[in-house]
């Protein structure tokens, strides 16, 4: 159900930005206007109109709220996942480099992280968001227009990097002292092989948990930024942006705020539960524990 936004274009009867201001629909055999002449839009009609305007329309423009919810969710999820991928990639590389090499490599990376860390996430996000939303981004041959969805993705991915890199660096610092690392060096493994062949496999379960949590955090930050106008730019929509437009009508049509808000909460919650489940599934030692409970395999020894 929460994944429904992924195939929004297959289930929606109309585009997310299409306005239906002048249309009329038949509800239980009765003709009604989507947007009445005094500017109030139709409320939820549930199944009255063959699935159209399931949740009503979103105010003066008369856009189908359910369709916008789907497309908005698609944007929110895309931003959440893409930004989490960026964060994870940066954090894993930086965490491994800093934790494994220590010394000045660590000092440079850690100080740079501290600078980003020192700003409140939301403040940094808004500052970067407004700056880039006005001017767009131009790095060498790469140019991103100011309205692009990539701007919030890059900002969110960047802003959260220290929060993931720091725990990973700590883990690497502990892992590198293990004897199996020394054994790999004694085999003739170089630094890259030790980092990605020996240390990384021991980080996966942690990375996956951090990754799913990071999607959840990213979606929250995206909502906040979009709500404040520093994230997704209109006419594109996201759940955060929908809450933002919904607040204008919070007394007459509270559902326009409550529904996207509920979607965010539910998605964040299920991502957290999913992350926990995944960690249990991926850890070979916890798998043994399950099998041992089922009586199929008696582990000879639990981890040292």
């Amino acid at each position: 159900m929460l994944a429904a936004p992924l195939w929004a274009s297959h289930v929606a009867h109309t585009g997310p930005d299409t306005t239906h201001t002048t249309e009329k629909i038949t509800v239980d055999g009765e003709r009604r206007e989507v947007v009445s002449p005094d500017g109030a839009s139709i409320g939820p009609v549930w199944f009255g109109a063959d699935g159209r305007f399931f949740l009503g329309a979103d105010g003066r423009l008369g856009r189908d709220e359910m369709v916008r919810l789907m497309y908005g969710g698609r944007t929110s999820l895309l931003i959440g996942v893409a930004a989490a991928l960026i964060t994870t990639f940066l954090a894993v590389v930086l965490g491994l480099l800093a934790g494994y090499h220590r010394g000045w490599t660590d000092s440079v990376i850690s100080r740079a992280m501290d600078i980003v860390w020192a700003f409140p996430v939301l403040l940094l996000g808004i500052a970067l968001g407004t700056a880039l939303a006005v001017g767009g981004l131009q790095i060498g041959p790469l140019s991103i227009s100011s309205g692009s969805i990539w701007i919030p993705i890059l900002i969110i991915g960047f802003v959260y990097t220290p929060y993931m890199a720091r725990p990973l660096r700590g883990e690497v610092l502990a892992l590198r002292e293990k004897e199996f690392v020394e054994a790999a060096v004694a085999q003739g493994a170089g630094p890259l092989r030790v980092m990605f062949g020996e240390l990384l496999p021991n980080l996966w379960s942690r990375i996956i948990v951090l990754f799913t949590l990071s999607i959840a955090n990213n979606m929250l930050l995206e909502s906040a930024l979009s709500f404040l106008g520093a994230g997704v730019q209109p006419p594109a929509s996201s759940w955060g942006a929908m809450i933002s437009t919904g607040t204008e009508l919070i007394y007459s049509a509270p559902l326009l705020t409550i529904i996207p808000g509920t979607m965010i909460v539910l998605t964040v919650l299920s991502l957290n539960v999913f992350g926990d489940g995944l960690r249990d599934a991926i850890d070979p030692r916890s798998r043994v524990r399950l099998e041992a409970h089922a009586g199929t395999f008696e582990p000879e020894r639990e981890g040292a």
Partner: protein, 280 residues
């Protein structure tokens, strides 16, 4: 005999003890290895004994350049390797391997046995997928495991089996020298003999040279041609195994020998009587 395989001369490894508020200041040093000289001939086993904490593991690591020695020289086949960088050491690693004191800690818990044993082969760029798998299977069989263990994780094995995995990994690149750092001290007494015999057989078969470490002189005596006794970072006595055990020249060696449990009670009584003057 031709030139020895390994010559260690005046090897020193000191760990600085640092303390300080902003800038670390050296306040002392741990003399873990202090002016050690050893020679090991080809196909020979040198036993290294000493109590816990006397610097045996540190000596092993320094010999293999896993730790950079403070000073001294290590020559392998006549070539100086002390002070080589990690990159320069890499091509030499296949010639000298190590078996670790803690079997479980020395195996990556997230890698399958097949990968652990296969990696040294892969590092040499040896063989394709199927060929590699066959050779890993052979190695596992050689150390008394089964090729079916290929897909398993280290924690699914007993301590003795884990040490066998460690041995298979050390054998994989066909080394000349194996440094065995207390390969049996963490194992149950009942399986120690099996592992020691396995190492002995492998030596005959492959012409290996061992630096065999133990804190128990009884274990070392069985496998070694010569024995070196280590005490507080220094070698206090070195010589042929039987000579060192029968006629120890150093009082510290004598105390080590006295700690060995003797299976025969009459012999034990005789030794106690020899230690204290009868009648006193």
């Amino acid at each position: 005999m031709s030139e020895p395989l390994l010559e260690v001369e005046g090897l020193v490894m000191h760990f600085p003890v640092k303390r300080g508020l902003l800038v670390d200041r050296e306040v002392g040093r741990v003399r873990a290895v202090d002016d050690v000289s050893l020679t090991i001939g080809r196909g020979e086993t040198l036993g290294l004994v000493g109590e816990s904490g006397c610097g045996k593991s540190t000596l092993c690591r320094t010999v293999l350049q896993l730790l950079k020695p403070t000073s001294g020289s290590v020559r392998f086949e006549g070539r100086e390797i002390a002070g080589l960088s990690r990159r320069q050491m890499r091509p030499l690693r296949r010639e000298m391997q190590m078996i670790f004191q803690e079997p479980y800690a020395s195996l990556n818990p997230r890698k399958r046995v097949g990968q652990i044993v296969g990696d040294p082969l892969r590092l040499q760029g040896a063989g394709s997928g199927a060929e590699l798998r066959r050779r890993v299977g052979e190695l596992l069989e050689r150390v008394g495991l089964s090729p079916e263990h290929y897909e398993r994780y280290p924690h699914e094995f007993s301590g003795g089996q884990q040490q066998r995995i460690g041995i298979a990994r050390a054998l994989a690149p066909s080394p000349k020298l194996i440094v065995a750092d207390e390969p049996v001290s963490k194992l149950d007494v009942s399986i120690r003999a099996q592992i020691v015999n396995l190492l002995d057989d492998l030596q005959d078969e492959m012409g290996l040279t061992y630096l065999f470490v133990a804190h128990d002189i009884g274990v070392v005596r069985h496998v070694s041609d010569r024995i070196a006794v280590m005490h507080e970072g220094r070698i206090v006595e070195q010589g042929p195994a039987d000579r060192v055990c029968e006629h120890p020249a150093d009082p510290y060696t004598e105390s080590l020998l006295a700690a060995v449990p003797v299976p025969d009670p009459r012999q034990a009584r005789a030794r106690r009587a020899g230690g204290r003057r009868p009648g006193s």
